[in-house]
Each structure stands twice: as C-alpha cells, then as structure tokens.
Amino acid sequence: MKRPRAVTRVLPLAPALVLLLLFLAGPIAYCVCIAFTDLQLTGQAHSSFVGLANFRRALSDDAFLNAVWLTLVFTVLSALVGQNTLGLALAALMKRASKPVRTLVGGIVVTAWVLPEVVAGFLLYAFFRREGTLNAILDWLGLPRQNWLFTLPILAVSFANVWRGTAFSMLVYSAALDEIPAEITEAAEVDGAGGWRRLWHITLPMIRRSIGTNLMLNTLQTLSVFGLIWVMTRGGPGDRSQTLPLFMYEQAFQNSMIGYGTAVALLLLLVGSLFSVVYLRLLRTEV
C-alpha cells in the first residue's frame, strides 16, 4: 500500500497557514506593536515608542471607563441574561409545544438571527424611535411613552442584541435538551418533582456543559458587536451607548489617535482571549 509522503502531509495546510499568518496573526502582532506608540492617522513617519502611556491614559480617561462600564452592562444584560435565559426558555417551551407553533416560532426567531447586522439595526431603530412601534403599543395600552433611544439607549441596544442573538442560544439548547433521556425526566415526574425542581436538579445539571459553551460564545459575540449599535445610536446620545468597540473606533478615526485606539483594541482582544481560553477548557474533552 502506498503511503502519502511527508510533503503531501504538510503542503495542503500551506494556503490556509499563509492566509492566517498574514491576515490574522500579522494584524494581532501589529496591534501589540502600535499599542505602545503614539501613531496618528495623519503622519505615519512621526510615531514613536511611548511605553505604557496609552494604557495609563486609558485608566484615567473617564470616557474609557464609561465605555468599559457600558460594555459590561451590554454584555451582562443582553448576552448573559437576555439571550441565554430567553434561548433556554424558548428551547424548553418548544419541546412541549405543538408542531406548527414550534415551526412558526423557530422560523421567526431564526430569521432575526440570519438577517444582516445592519438591517437588524435599522429594524430595531425603527422599533425604538419616538415615532416607532414600541411607543405605538404603549399608547394603545395607555402606558407612558418614552424616547427610548434618548432616555435609555444602552437598554435599547441591549434589547436589540437579544432580538438578534437569541436564536443561537435557542439552537444550542434545543440540541442539548434533545439529548436528555426521556426516562430520567419521567422518573422524576413520577417521584413527584415539580417543574422548577426538575429544572434545577435534573435539566440544568445535565446540560451544564452546553450552558458553559453557550455563555462563552454569547459573550464573545457580544463583545464584538459594532454595526448594530452604530446604526441605532452611533454610540450616543453623547457617549451613553458607546461600548468599547465604538470607543476604539472613535479614538482611532474621529480623534485620529490610532495608537490610543489600538491600545484599547488590545485590551478588548485580551479580554476576548481570556474568554476564548475558558471556552477551550470547556471543550477540552472534545478535541
């Protein structure tokens, strides 16, 4: 039998490796380099090494701390609480629901997920605007209306992210719930365990790995949301929905400080890497 030679073993990896090294590893390395310089958008020639100045500056910059806080609120509200809980609830309800309802609801929720990010942004911009659908419903119910994008912009964009991202959690949890053997739930039911106790003592422990994976992936996806917020509020009014990606963009391009913007980018990348490592550990047995 002819065995493939060493060349055949390595050569097919080459195109992918070249692309990854040039366009992914390269920019990351470059990111580390220019985060320690005062590179500006205008003059390439005048950048010089400034050590940790960019990072020190960030820590004493109120706008940066504001962006960190808003990113935290945005991530906790929309990824950890919103997408995750709603996704699990939808998956659990779908297991009990009748087939036509399941198909309909699944279709609508997944459509929101598949839509291009900018389109989703426009749809929710229209929904939350002063003249938009949400206020029309509140009027109809006799409740006070709000200019949502002005009074509670971070809440509006968080809801937008829930609308757009819940389908992913729903799909992950549907697959996970399907793997729980029916006998176990039935046995608990016969023993008289109520719905909440079954959820707490049986369902959640059995899908804990999926929960971990899902939380990580939701967080990573939410950390890099840019287009959705950009379209809905541009980070405003003022800086009241300016999460880290929007802050980074503003510093680099509106204020022409590529070095400072990149330092912020590097911090974001580090946080992302941290979550990515946790995600890897959760998957460890599967590789």
């Binding site: 055949t8 992918a16 390269g26 659908t133 799909l171």
Partner: protein
C-alpha cells in the same frame, strides 16, 4: 395525565406565540413598509399597495452595484475560505501528527477572538502595504477571519468519512490529492454546503470589515452602502430603505433555508457549533 399534558401544551403554545409576536414586529415593519406608499417608522397596515419603493431603488447606483460588489467580495472570500479549509482539513483529519492537537487548539482559540478588536490595526497595516480600499485585500481578510471556524467545521465533517474507502483507493494507486478530490469531498457534500453557506452568510452581513477597509463609494458592498439612506440622501425615505433591506436580506435567508432543509432541521448549525 393526558389532560394535564394537553393543558401544558396549550400553555407552551400561548407563551411561545407571545414571544413570536414580539420578535415578529420589527420584521413585519420592514415587509409592510416596503410596499406602503406612506411608510413611516411604526408597524401599520399599509394604506394602499405600491411597488414604487422597489422601483425607486432598482437603479445601478443604489442597488445593482452594491449588490454586485457584495457578491464579488463575499463570493471570492467564501471560495477562498472553502478551498483553503478543505485542503487544510485533509491532513488534520487523516494523518496522525503530534502537531495536530496544538494546531486545532489554536484554531479553536482563534474562532473566539473578537475580530472587531483588530480592525484598527488591520486598517493601519493595510494602509502601509497598500491594500487599503482594494477588493482583493478585503477578500483576503474576510477569508482569514472566517478560516478558523471553517477549518474546524470541515475537519469534523471530514472525520465522518470512513478511512477505509480511501485506503481502498490508495491500494488501487490513487494519490492523496486524487482521493481527496474524487472520494472524500464528494462524500461530504452536505458538510461543504454548510461551510460555504455559513461563510457566505457571515461575510454578506458583515458591516465593520468593509466599512473600515473600503473607501471608494463604487466599491462599497450593500452592508455599507445601505447607510446612505440616512446620510447623503436628505430626508429618509423609509419605504425605500425597507425595500432595499428586503432585497439585500433575501439571499442569505434563502441560503439558510436551503442548508437547514438539506440537513433536516434548523438545528444543524447549532449542533455543529456545539461539537
């Protein structure tokens, strides 16, 4: 027991439908506004039916050029991704090596990195090497950013093709590249379809990458040019914006349906991501 089950099903149906209405409202807005002669920002029954919105935007400037740009950009990027991923997945799936595990772990790690965060340095780098504002530069970056996940998926699908078939081909004198093209790839058709559609959908909807890397208006894909409805054309024509959104979104929805059908249910991608 059966009665209890039936009432439980009813409760589930009702709560699901309530959630569905909330999710459907923004979608209803875009569909209704696209054909409403007096489209505004809220969901309402159209007072009349018109295709003027579509007629107004179906011009080379507003629709055809951006969509063609999207197609070139995402088609090229996807082709590059799929070919590189299929090639890379082959040795990872077929040959044992001490480097496989660290390589796969790195790949998996890279799937988690927030690409948004590296766009500022990518911009700076592209300015330096003269790739800024070029379609091919953006295409290469798209492919690189999608590759980690594509390789990971492709490798898992390839693991599902039994080795024995290939070993039989080797005995008959086929080389490794031949057996990859003639035996392995045809057997993993659905897997390749998933990787292709997934990569394409991700690129088609991506806003930030072309927003940063492309500058010339004629080169902008639909994801970026759609913002002109707000900025440059004065008063926002919501009917036109909605009509454009419908046209721009339809291809990816159709593609998703196609793949979901083929793999028996919409849960394929979720399952693939999980494992």
């Amino acid at each position: 027991m059966p009665r209890k089950r039936a009432s439980r099903r009813l409760a589930a149906d009702v709560s699901l439908l309530a959630v569905a209405v909330a999710f459907a409202l923004p979608l209803a807005w875009v569909l209704l506004s696209a054909v409403d002669p007096h489209a505004g920002l809220r969901v309402k029954v159209p007072d009349g039916f018109t295709l003027d919105g579509f007629r107004a935007i179906l011009t080379p400037d507003i629709t055809y050029t951006p969509l063609l740009n999207s197609l070139i950009l995402c088609g090229g990027g996807t082709a590059l991704t799929v070919v590189c991923a299929a090639l890379a997945a082959y040795p990872l799936s077929r040959f044992r090596s001490r480097l496989n595990r660290p390589f796969l772990l790195t790949i998996l790690f890279a799937t988690g990195l927030p690409i948004t965060a590296i766009m500022v340095p990518v911009y700076a780098l592209f300015v330096r090497v003269n790739l800024i504002d070029t379609l091919h530069g953006t295409m290469f970056f798209f492919a690189a950013s999608q590759l980690p996940f594509a390789i990971w998926l492709m490798k898992n699908f390839m693991d599902g093709v039994p080795r024995e078939l290939e070993e039989a081909a080797w005995t008959d004198g086929a080389s490794a590249p031949q057996s990859l093209v003639r035996i392995v790839l045809p057997l993993m058709g659905p897997g390749i379809a998933v990787v292709t559609v997934f990569s394409f959908v991700m690129m088609w909807g991506n806003f930030f990458v072309p927003f940063m890397l492309l500058l010339t208006p004629d080169q902008l894909p639909a994801s970026v040019s759609i913002n002109d409805f707000f900025g440059n054309r004065g008063m926002v024509a919501y009917g036109q914006l909605a009509a454009f959104s419908v046209i721009y979104s339809t291809p990816v929805i159709l593609l998703y349906v196609l793949v979901a059908r083929r793999l028996g249910g919409g849960f394929a991608l979720g399952g693939a991501v999980k494992g």
